[in-house]
Symmetry: C2
Subunit: 217 residues, 2 copies
């Protein structure tokens, strides 16, 4: 009985996710779902990315948080349309929440949509929201054992950002081990080592976003 | 219908948690539930704490992870009994998992039990496992906005550890803001600023553990 209810919830989610994907595809909006632990630097990476690509693409952002609108306020300062979703307690966005957000965004002419999921390495991996690709962000302050401990999201992600490399001299983080362990789960996973705070290493990531968007259109 | 099923699950969890609490109380085992994001330094804090308190208390550890036994192996090197729980995908421990772990630990004569929950700032806050107190750990690398964005766990915790203060010169973290925002949610929350890696500031935290355990007995 309980299993049936759960299955219905996931089936309903998948149906709405497919509808979101169709709505976005019809308008040519390439959509990235950014997933990471709390404090891995998702919002800062997004701010840098928006600033770097603002002359090239028309972009928008959906911000997912349990509570508050602090991230949407940060993003709003970069001159792109942004919608904040508050999940009220849920540890992930679902397709229905994103559908509501899409209804409140100017989709016509949009080329690139970033969805910043709730800070969590577990729950968001289980819920399709209609994105074209998932990106997992890991900061070197979190430790090199994370791909091994949270394999699902590294398996699902189309790219991995290894953030806060400016902290490398201060932390015990073995980059080779993290790379190897992510690629045991997901061979050929593109990995971009950068510091969203200082801007170091950002170009490889930006090129991946550019190329992914162009391949999509 | 769905709500009823969820309520049953939570009621069943609460009943088992109450039973765990009774089993532990009967034997005088003071139990702390450590909750934090992935990579905030829970395991390192635990290693330091075990080493510092090993002459004073008989201790044991329950390790919760989605997958793997890396943390239990680290803890095992410190000479205390440890049981690893793999949730298989769930983003939190529940009371039933902890009950199984208790059946595999030498509870007689034990004085202090640490349960390291799955790395997650959201889900573990919703599930009583029978602990006496929750401790939330936040690293300065995660950002000072976390108490505001994940209020429930800061409200529920009996103490907060602000970890990785050795990284302060390298990150934009406003300690006053984090303190203020945690205490808006939870006035009088004890906050311990320390670096589990270097050992700086550990004494205040150790004293809190000592006193909490003694008050319990």
């Amino acid at each position: 009985m309980e299993i049936k209810v759960l299955r219905n919830v996931l089936e309903a989610n998948d149906a709405i996710a497919a509808e979101n994907r169709r709505v976005l595809k019809d308008r040519g909006v390439y959509t990235l779902n950014l997933i990471a632990s709390p404090g891995s630097g998702k919002t800062t990476l997004l701010e840098r990315t928006l600033d770097a690509l603002k002359g090239e693409f028309r972009m928008a952002v959906v911000e997912g948080d349990i509570a508050g609108s602090a991230d949407a306020e940060r993003i709003g300062r970069h001159g792109v349309p942004v919608v904040q979703i508050n999940t009220g307690g849920d540890c992930h966005l679902n397709a229905n929440m994103v559908r509501s957000a899409l209804q409140n965004l100017p989709l016509e002419g949009l080329q690139l949509l970033f969805v910043e999921n709730v800070g969590n390495l577990v729950c968001p991996a289980g819920f399709d929201i209609g994105e074209d690709a998932k990106v997992v962000i890991l900061s070197v302050a979190e430790g090199d054992d994370k791909p091994e401990k949270y394999p699902l999201i590294f398996q699902q992600a189309s790219a991995m950002v290894l953030n806060k490399i400016d902290l490398m001299p201060m932390v015990d983080f073995d980059i080779e081990k993290a790379r190897r362990s992510a690629r045991t789960t997901h061979p050929d996973l593109p990995i971009f080592e950068l510091s969203a705070r200082t801007g170091e290493g950002l170009e490889g990531w930006l090129d991946w976003v550019r190329e992914s968007q162009r391949r999509y259109c």
